[in-house]
C-alpha cells in the first residue's frame, strides 16, 4: 500500500508536469467511468465525446488545483465530468465553454437543479442490471447522487423526504452496488 501511495504521488507529479504519457494513462484508467456519468447526463454519443474531451482539457488545465490531501483524484475528476455534463445540458447549446473556471469544476456538487432529470439515460449505460438490484427509492437517490452530484440535502429537498432517509437509502444502495461489483470481480 505504501508503494501504491508512492506511485500515486509520482503519477500526480507527472500529471502536474503535463507529460503526455501520464495523460494517456489517466485516460486509460478513467475515461470509461467518466464517460459513464457524462453519457448518463447528456446521452447522445457525439455530445458525450465533446463533454469528455472538455473534461480532460479541464483536468489538464486545473491539475495543479487538485489537492490529494482533500480527496481522491477520481472524485475530483468525477466532479469535473459531472459538472461539465450538467453545464452542457443547462446551457442547452452544443458549444461548451472551454475554459470555465476551476471553481465551477471543483464545486463538490451542483447547486442548481438541472432541467428535467428525465433526460438521463441510465438505461443505456450498461449499469441497468446493477441498478435493478436496488429498490426504487434507493435507485432514485443513487441516480441523483451519482449522476447529478446532488448532496443528501438537495435530494431530500427535491423528493420531499427527510435527510436521514436519503442518507440511509444512499448508503444502503452504495453498499449493495459495491457488494455486487465485488461479487462480479471475483467471478461470483
Amino acid at each position: 500500500m505504501e508503494a501504491e501511495k508512492h506511485n500515486e504521488t509520482e503519477f500526480l507529479v507527472m500529471l502536474r508536469n503535463r507529460l503526455p504519457a501520464a495523460y494517456e494513462k489517466l485516460y486509460d484508467m478513467y475515461s470509461g467511468s467518466l464517460n459513464g456519468v457524462i453519457y448518463s447526463v447528456v446521452g447522445d454519443g457525439e455530445t458525450a465525446r465533446d463533454v469528455l474531451q472538455d473534461t480532460f482539457i479541464k483536468i489538464w488545465e486545473n491539475i495543479r488545483l487538485y489537492d490529494e490531501k482533500k480527496g481522491r483524484l477520481f472524485t475530483w475528476m468525477l466532479n469535473i465530468a459531472r459538472n461539465n455534463a450538467i453545464d452542457h445540458l443547462r446551457s442547452g447549446s452544443a458549444k461548451i465553454r472551454r475554459n470555465q473556471v476551476a471553481s465551477d469544476t471543483l464545486k463538490p456538487h451542483v447547486q442548481e437543479k438541472i432541467g428535467g432529470s428525465s433526460s438521463m439515460n441510465v438505461d443505456t449505460i450498461g449499469v441497468r442490471e446493477m441498478l435493478d438490484l436496488l429498490s426504487p427509492e434507493q435507485r432514485t437517490v443513487i441516480e441523483k447522487a451519482y449522476f447529478e452530484g446532488l448532496t443528501r440535502e438537495n435530494i431530500a429537498e427535491e423528493l420531499g423526504i427527510p435527510v436521514g432517509t436519503v442518507k440511509t437509502q444512499l448508503r444502503a444502495a452504495l453498499i449493495r452496488l459495491r457488494e455486487y461489483t465485488k461479487e462480479n470481480a471475483s467471478g461470483h
Binding site: 465525446r49 477520481f74 459531472r82
Partner: protein, 260 residues
C-alpha cells in the same frame, strides 16, 4: 475520542466520499482519519476501484486519440542541435546522446482565459467564481510551498547550487534533490525573466544522458519536478515554450555536478 474503524468501514461514508457526495465536514473528518488509519485509506482505494468498474461505459476507441490530441500539450520536437565542441561544454557533449521526450505545459494563462470564457455569463457568478478560483489558487500555492519546505528539510536532501555558464556567468539557481527518493525540487525564479515564447527547462544528467526534469512555470508555486535517481549533474537551458526533447546546449544557463 475512540473511533471505531469498523463502524466507519461499514457506514457507507467511504462510498459517498468517493462519489463526492459526502458533506464537507465529514470529508474533512475522513481525510483526517485516512491519514491515521491505513485500513481506511485502503478501503477508500478499493471502493474507488469498485465504483470505477460499476459505472463505467467504455468510450469508443476512436475517441482516445481525438481527445488526447486535443489537450493543449505541445509536442514540439526540437531540431537536434549541433554542439560546438569547446572544452567548457565537453561534458555535455558526451551527455547529449539520448534524450527523453517531453512536452510540458504552457503557462497556465488562467486569468486571461477566465475573462474570455466568462463573457456573457452573469456578473454574480463571475465574481463568485473568480474569488473561488483565487482562493483555490492560493491554497494550491500554499500546498506547493509547504511541499517544497518539507522536501528541503527531509533528511538526505541535497542542496545543489547551479552556477552560471560563461555566457550567463552572473546567474545561479538552486535545485534540491533527494537521491534516495529521487525527488527533485526546483524553482527558476532567481533566473532572469525570459522573452515571451521561451521557458527554462531543467535537465538531470543520468548515466551521462540528459533527462527531462520539467519546465519552469512562473505561475506555479508547486516546485516539484520530475523525479531523477542517480543524477550526476543538473542543468538549466532556455527552450521554446513547451520545452524541447533535447537541451539547447548553446542556451545552457546554469549547471552543477552532484557531490558524490
Amino acid at each position: 475520542m475512540q473511533v471505531d474503524i469498523k463502524d466507519i468501514l461499514n457506514s457507507g461514508m467511504i462510498e459517498e466520499y468517493v462519489l463526492g457526495t459526502l458533506p464537507e465536514a465529514e470529508v474533512q473528518e475522513l481525510n483526517r482519519l485516512r491519514e491515521l488509519h491505513p485500513e481506511i485509506d485502503e478501503e477508500i482505494i478499493r471502493t474507488e476501484e469498485a465504483m470505477v468498474r460499476a459505472f463505467s461505459k467504455p468510450a469508443p476507441v476512436a475517441w482516445k486519440k481525438e481527445i488526447l490530441s486535443a489537450l493543449p500539450s505541445p509536442e514540439t520536437p526540437a531540431p537536434a542541435l549541433q554542439l560546438r565542441r569547446n572544452n567548457t561544454f565537453k561534458w555535455v557533449a558526451v551527455a547529449a546522446g539520448l534524450l527523453l521526450v517531453l512536452s510540458l505545459g504552457f503557462n497556465m494563462k488562467q486569468s486571461g482565459d477566465l475573462k474570455e470564457s466568462l463573457a456573457g455569463m452573469d456578473k454574480m457568478r463571475k465574481e463568485n467564481e473568480n474569488m473561488q478560483a483565487q482562493l483555490n489558487g492560493a491554497l494550491a500555492d500554499m500546498n506547493g510551498m509547504d511541499q517544497t519546505l518539507q522536501a528541503v528539510f527531509k533528511p538526505g536532501t541535497q542542496k545543489i547550487v547551479m552556477q552560471g555558464t560563461p555566457a550567463y556567468a552572473q546567474n545561479s539557481s538552486v535545485v534540491y534533490w533527494n537521491p534516495e527518493s529521487g525527488e527533485v525540487y526546483w524553482d527558476g525564479r532567481s533566473l532572469p525573466a525570459l522573452p515571451a515564447g521561451n521557458q527554462y527547462q531543467l535537465w538531470a544528467i543520468v548515466d551521462g544522458k540528459p533527462q527531462n526534469g520539467g519546465l519552469y512555470d512562473p505561475a506555479r508555486r508547486d516546485t516539484r519536478m520530475l523525479a531523477a535517481t542517480k543524477a550526476q549533474a543538473f542543468a538549466v537551458t532556455i527552450e521554446p515554450e513547451g520545452g524541447s526533447r533535447n537541451p539547447s546546449l548553446d542556451k545552457m544557463v546554469v549547471m552543477a555536478n552532484v557531490r558524490s
